[in-house]
Symmetry: C3
Subunit: 453 residues, 3 copies
């Protein structure tokens, strides 16, 4: 990636930068903040603990992706999911947070923030850094979604670079438009916990990536019909679903940023109900269609329900959440089929359908079903057409931005470093090719996983 000299220079530079951080910011001890409003204690505890749960979703994404793909790529997949969180934390610390939650004057401020780089200066403040922590775990979630759609054939180095670009630029800029005081917020568009900001952004960057990197060897037959490539551990994949579900209880209720907003109980209930409905719907549809309830698809139905309720969880009621989940569960099955058979884009874990398509559904469902009981947010079915229009604009925007920027990024990476590993490496597995190891050396592999497909 860099010459040795260049690499050393970068490290020395970072070390020096660390020392020039001003030792005093706005309120780095928190004493003044607490004195001003003692409720900040419970709100900080709430946001941080919920943020820890969101961080745990990284493990869920890793297991879901690794479980649904082949044993010969498992170490590579775990590595990607660990490293993208490292890169995301550092990228969002250095650049992303400033672009997203920073401020800027005039028109610029509608597009982008410009202060808080490296959490220097006034950003060395308990409230600012609480917000940084919260937004950082969200940012890393968006990045990790891309991993699954490009699994089993993408170069590790490319994935690292893409993670840095997503967490430092692509995610934060759309994030600024919606959550940082940008133009979408100005239009009145809303996205409570990020069906759009996090999931649709991740899902449509993933669409660009999966499309440009091309399908795995053996995924499509000569006649263009797709082969199923079964995952190597359904146990770990479903453990991943459980961990994601658990972490989502941080993701959605924590997005109040305050436990003093007692609506958190309804948000938690909406979250669990949409997930349950999504899982049941996906199960029933596969049971009808294929005669047997499909395990990975039911897991994807659960996550589809979670993605879809994320935008509206604070503003809809439990019955509407069940409805949102049911539709998400149906959508994800249809979308996985459509992408696999019609678009012929190879998405090993269904990330585009789960996060992209159901993310859009979440944005629209909020515009439709917000019932006006909290924060005076009212949807189309309760008579507010204007809000629905804002939501449609934000849905179109997130698709164009995420897919467009993702396509530009991966196109440039393709023409420079190249996206795909060699066919030989793909057949042998990325564990050997990228990391010189095997994830499971103590077990005898079945033939296909050694020789490819």
């Amino acid at each position: 990636m860099f010459t040795k000299k260049g690499q050393r220079l970068i490290i020395i530079l970072v070390c020096l930068l660390a020392l020039i951080t001003p030792a005093f910011g706005a309120d780095p001890s928190g004493a003044a903040t607490f004195e001003e409003n003692p409720d900040t204690a419970i709100n900080f505890a709430w946001v941080l603990i919920c943020g820890f749960l969101v961080m745990s979703m990284q493990a869920g994404f890793a297991l879901l992706e690794a479980g649904l793909t082949r044993a010969k790529n498992a170490a590579n997949i775990m590595m990607k999911n660990m490293v993208d969180f490292c890169i995301g934390a550092l990228g969002y610390w250095a650049i992303g947070f400033a672009l997203m939650m920073g401020t800027a004057t005039g028109i610029t401020g509608l597009m982008i923030g410009l202060n808080g780089f490296f959490l220097w200066g006034d950003a060395y403040d308990v409230t600012t850094i609480e917000l940084w922590f919260w937004q950082m775990v969200f940012c890393a979630t968006a990045a990790t979604i891309v991993s699954g759609a490009m699994a089993e054939r993408t170069k590790f180095s490319v994935y690292c670079l893409a993670s840095l670009i997503v967490t430092a630029f692509i995610y934060p800029i759309y994030g600024h438009w919606m959550w940082g005081g940008g133009w979408l917020a100005g239009l009145g568009a809303l996205d409570f916990a990020g069906s759009g900001v996090v999931h649709a952004v991740g899902g449509f960057i993933a669409l660009a990536g999966a499309w440009l990197v091309g399908p795995r060897l053996g995924k499509y037959r000569k006649d263009g019909t797709p082969n199923g490539i079964p995952g190597h551990s359904i146990t770990l994949a479903i453990l991943g679903v459980f961990i994601l579900w658990f972490g989502w209880f941080g993701f959605n209720p924590g997005s109040t940023l305050a436990a003093t907003e007692l609506r958190i109980s309804i948000i938690a209930a909406n979250t669990v109900l949409a997930a349950a409905a999504g899982g049941i719907m996906a199960m029933i549809i596969t049971w009808w269609k294929f005669g047997k309830p499909d395990v990975p698809m039911t897991g994807n139905g659960v996550i589809a329900g979670l993605v879809a309720i994320t935008a509206g969880c604070a503003w809809v009621n439990p019955s509407a959440s069940v409805l949102i989940g049911l539709i998400a569960g149906a959508l994800v099955v249809a979308s996985v089929w459509f992408i696999d058979w019609k678009l012929r884009i190879d998405d090993p874990v269904g990330a585009i359908s789960v996060h992209g398509v159901c993310g859009i559904w979440g944005i629209l469902a909020l515009g439709l079903l917000a019932d006006g009981t909290y924060g005076e947010v009212t949807g189309l079915l309760y008579g507010n057409a204007g809000f629905m229009v804002s939501q449609v604009i934000s849905a179109v925007t997130v698709f164009i931005w995420a897919f467009g920027m993702g396509a530009v990024m991966f196109y440039i990476l393709k023409k420079t470093v190249g996206l795909r590993v060699s066919d030989r490496e793909q057949i042998e597995g990325l564990d050997i090719g990228e990391h010189g190891m095997s994830a499971y050396p103590d077990f005898v592999p079945t033939e296909p996983s050694v020789k490819g497909d």
Copy 2:
């Protein structure tokens, strides 16, 4: 299960129902509740976060069950544990919560509650829904206990139906008697976090199920002595124990429903001490008996300690907790042996012993050892014989209710849809038979797991 037309009708119906939810309930925003008592913020945060931990136990149950059974059934087991939580959330939302925590006038109210169905009307309230969330994760725990005892030979469709009946009817009705203002509460019986309400209910429904479904092929020899059928991943099984232990820190301390009850620290300490004592005791006994410390039994000892301390954790002291755990650890070893060798009921994971038998021990231990330092609850050893009598009544009741209703339910299911998969499916594995897949296609299986026993 249903005709296609019927299925579609049901879905359309649910969708319509969602829209008629009244948009205004008691306090759906939470503003009035918070203004009335600002402590609700910390109490909501406490209860919700503890509830999230309880939800994570679903992953623990799934891994414990999957790890202690064979690879050929792993996908089916993960699926059961994921879907029973989906069904539990929806069943408890639609019906269970109203029966359990709802109110009713006169004699009816001693037996059953009758409002709050679908969280409609006045139930659309932050406090009511906080309680719903808490009780829902408990309800789903009771349901999932049944899964383990019936593993490796029960039809998936039957398990789905049973989960619905348990979470919508059997669990909530006993729950009403104890926690919803019913007749057991009126008698003075107590069960802090549910040794009886959750664990004994689950454990004795499991007893009925395991008995009626019959043993796995190859479990009993012609002379009636049991074969050990080893689990396929001790690593995942013990990970399951860790996750359950972690989640139990939500289960027990969260049952104060308030962080302003500082007794939570002692509850947490009692929880960890009983679990540790249970594990050590089970380990020592197997070490004595068989010459080597047994790994799955030590794990079951930990969970037995947790189940047994659940009823009394708020009202006993740390030393008594150690004692309760030690006895639970001994009980579980004896009970597993008794059920396996004497009753000849095949319980692959020991769920009946862990949850049923140790649940009863927990109810009685509370009646014996409550020391009067909290809430003026005093047990037999501290001079209060009357309380012990109430506890004995509640122990007898939970056995009769759970085993009786479980037997009725599974008997009807047996005579209608049938409980067991075919012998051939059992030999090939439920992953193929029920879901048309393999959990671990990339690894070469050893002979027994392919051909049965």
Copy 3:
């Protein structure tokens, strides 16, 4: 270990002891404590939930160790990690807590505490037991670190005895010096969350143990160069890293013991940044050195960063945390190489490097980089040389104490019960030898894992 009579006597004794606990302590209900200061509610909730996260690290340690070692020892490793937590909880309840956090008059009090055994008497108090719970999960963490360094050849019974000695004596005494009002605290040495108290203590006991037990069969060739012995599940190992990272968000921010200290947000941010920097640095170094980014070493880099930031997380700024993590990531790679190639001590998981070496670096980094913005703690770079001297003394002390006491303990155990299993047992695997079972009976093992190396 004991004669049968002796064992029975011990159990009866413990049972009797349980009953003589006085039923009334200082404030067992918590009502008086809450009335005096209502903020205790949020602080109790914060400390307990963070403590639950710390407890979850036990699962992380178990998976990391099991994943990085061979399948034939996996059940033994999971068992060790489960049982050391059981023993730690009981040992710290009976003895450890009194020695560490108890008080004593005069010179004695500088060395050791002497009250609170079994949480009897005045220790039956919500505040005391909150502190007990918090310190107990820390104590158990120190104990479990030893497990990894001695994996795959140590007798299970020896490990149980060592866990008891560590949690009842070795850990608590050093802990008293630093956190219980002992002489190191008197000198002005600081260790916010235990880079020294927990990690360096665990890491240097591990050094003594790994040295005295000797290397695994086949680890060193005749010419003294080390063989790599690959782990059996990189997936589970990296899942372990994720769980440890998640749990560390309890470990560090929870060490304020109060959510009213809003510095918790900066502590959480510092924790994630150091971990990310450690992971990236270890990845980059292995990429340079070996041509490919190494997966387990990157995981160890993450944990090295976490260990190193633990002492200073409350007192340094985010940029300094990145620097601390970067250096920890480099240190761990160098140290693993040095211990493997130069000291020729066989540490299967790198525990000595991660916890011992990076623990020392954490203590010194605090002395160097504390920026004076919180609690008036200022390091050498900000002009306070005296504090750095205290930190150096504490670093030397922790090495001498932990390595010295570890060496004494393991030497005595070696000369009495013996540390190592037989060569034959080592070749067959400890799962069979120690527990009479196999962790993965359903999968065909590759040759080396059956026949040894």
